[in-house]
Point group: C2
């Protein structure tokens, strides 16, 4: 029996203990919207690290209706919903169990339908004053690197957990570094009708989340998260001096894609906002996992940008016209 | 030795003959832009049909830099580029071979760098007067269903090939059915600054292609292909009476997602264009593969919409400001 020697969140450790007796062949990352977006870097980790375990990522209802042939008793299905009340994700947990898969729910609400529907749940914390280690992104990485350790003896687990323990101070320094940039962005973009985001690799999820949850959902601003590699095969024809782009540059192996997209955009665009993880202080984050950790930092900084934008536009992030208000 | 008894394109049969002696464990779909978009339905097919073979889909440069751990001698890498000159895709073919994978290129140009860099290539035809069987989507399906037959004895291969042989007449009837709708769409949307597309399942690629290649690249119109399941977890807050949506409704298992998104959009949007495959005549297409064939028909009809839009806007589909004109 493998024995984990690192200090993970108790809930995560309980799941890892269960996984020790299972033969996981594939992982399905299943959630909706912002909770799905947090899973993109986890899929990137499995793609790069897993020797045998395969993975897929689907929006909850797509997962159910697509009904993947290989979903079964050797599957780990990781689901996430903050409130635990997202109906599609709760249904997906039940569906996964009906196929014999092991369903692990990440939620802030231990008494929620999702927590009840899964085989086991991990409680995460939520809010600007919560330590990075306890957030959805923090616990998901503990789970995924823990799985890699338990199933395949991957040696990055301990480094990752230690790095997550030091992540909060990286967040705080990055937020301080970006504070005036975020205010300037908000002021200069408060009247823009369209704002694109762009990234690649492990950072794409942060761009996607900002586009669909912050800009479209919470600010009613047109948006699209462009993949930095796809940019040159269509989307780049849209850029000119009047079209704003937020470009993420992370620290993972796909950074050359983001740098190339940025370089082109600088030549033909004028309204560029660049969040570059190279400018942040990653003290306490192990070199071997900095590429994986960067999207978490970029994601946290983007939240600051969102808050400033909402303030400058006098359009609170909590404002909705349909969500939770009408039937859908 | 398994023996295929159906009449596939000679080039495809040559690949299938090679695959008979290989043990393919995973498939990577690798291309850029529109050539990547045609692979989304093929991934959907493998997800639903493959008992053992896993699959992933990546933009060419993402594939190289992500460097999937499981890419190796048991991998089939399917690449596509019409001209065969897309540098990232040619590099991806070389990269795949360097890892021991079997690289199959789809291209219109047998003497192109991509055709030379892959282990083997399949020539497809291009243009409005080409039979559906010979197009990129046609040969890719022959290859993917052929693989499923050769490797796993999947019984849909013959049905699929016969259906592809009858597809051209389905196209023609659908184009005739949609002709006046396409003209009306073009006229009513010619001044729109933003047009969203939406779909799910096997149809998402057609929506993605229309957004990034037709609207953004060829018409310089802002766009985003929204996943119909994700719609309710962010993007739907953007819709109102002034925001145009093109909504695809296919025939696959995820149709309930598209129907739900359409139903909501009808309540709060006014500028809706619906392409519903149920309205088309699928004579000659086997019931068992109609869901898989629908995205090909929707994709063909969308080309008609694109041509009408370009005409109404006096902005030819061939017009570019950066692509093939400046360095990038």
């Amino acid at each position: 029996m493998s024995k984990t020697v690192v200090n993970v969140k108790t809930d995560v450790q309980a799941v890892l203990n269960e996984l020790k007796s299972k033969q996981i062949r594939n992982v399905f990352f299943v959630a909706c919207g912002g909770s799905s977006a947090i899973m993109y870097p986890a899929k990137y980790v499995l793609d790069r690290e897993a020797q045998h375990i395969t993975s897929d990522l689907y929006s909850s209802n797509e997962f159910i209706h697509r009904n993947p042939q290989q979903l079964g008793k050797d599957s780990l299905v990781i689901l996430c919903s903050m409130s635990g009340t997202t109906p599609e994700t709760t249904e997906a947990a039940k569906f996964a169990k009906s196929k014999g898969a092991y369903a692990v729910a990440l939620t802030n609400e231990p008494t929620s339908p999702l927590a009840h529907s899964a085989d086991i749940f991990i409680k995460y914390e939520w809010g600007n004053d919560i330590d990075a280690f306890e957030t959805n992104l923090g616990v998901l990485y503990q789970l995924v690197f823990g799985l890699l350790y338990v199933a395949e003896k991957n040696d990055k687990f301990a480094k990752l957990v230690t790095s997550l323990e030091n992540l909060q101070s990286v967040y705080e320094k990055a937020l301080e570094y970006e504070a005036s940039n975020a205010r300037k962005f908000a002021e200069s973009h408060k009247s823009e009708p369209v704002i694109y985001t762009m990234a690649s690799g492990s950072n794409y999820g942060a761009a996607y989340s900002f586009s669909i949850c912050i800009l479209m959902e919470m600010q009613w601003i047109h948006s699209h998260a462009i993949h930095a590699g796809e940019y040159f095969h269509g989307p780049f024809e849209i850029i000119d001096e009047n079209v704003p782009f937020i470009i993420l540059a992370g620290l993972d192996e796909t950074r050359p894609l983001e740098e190339r997209a940025l370089s082109f955009s600088k030549r033909y665009g004028k309204k560029l906002t660049v969040l570059d993880a190279k400018a942040y202080d990653f003290e306490g984050i192990d070199k071997d996992v900095q590429g994986y950790i960067a999207p978490l930092v970029l994601n946290r900084v983007l939240r600051q940008y969102a808050e400033e934008l909402a303030e400058a536009r006098n359009h609170p992030l909590s404002k909705r016209r349909y969500m939770w208000k009408v039937e859908y």
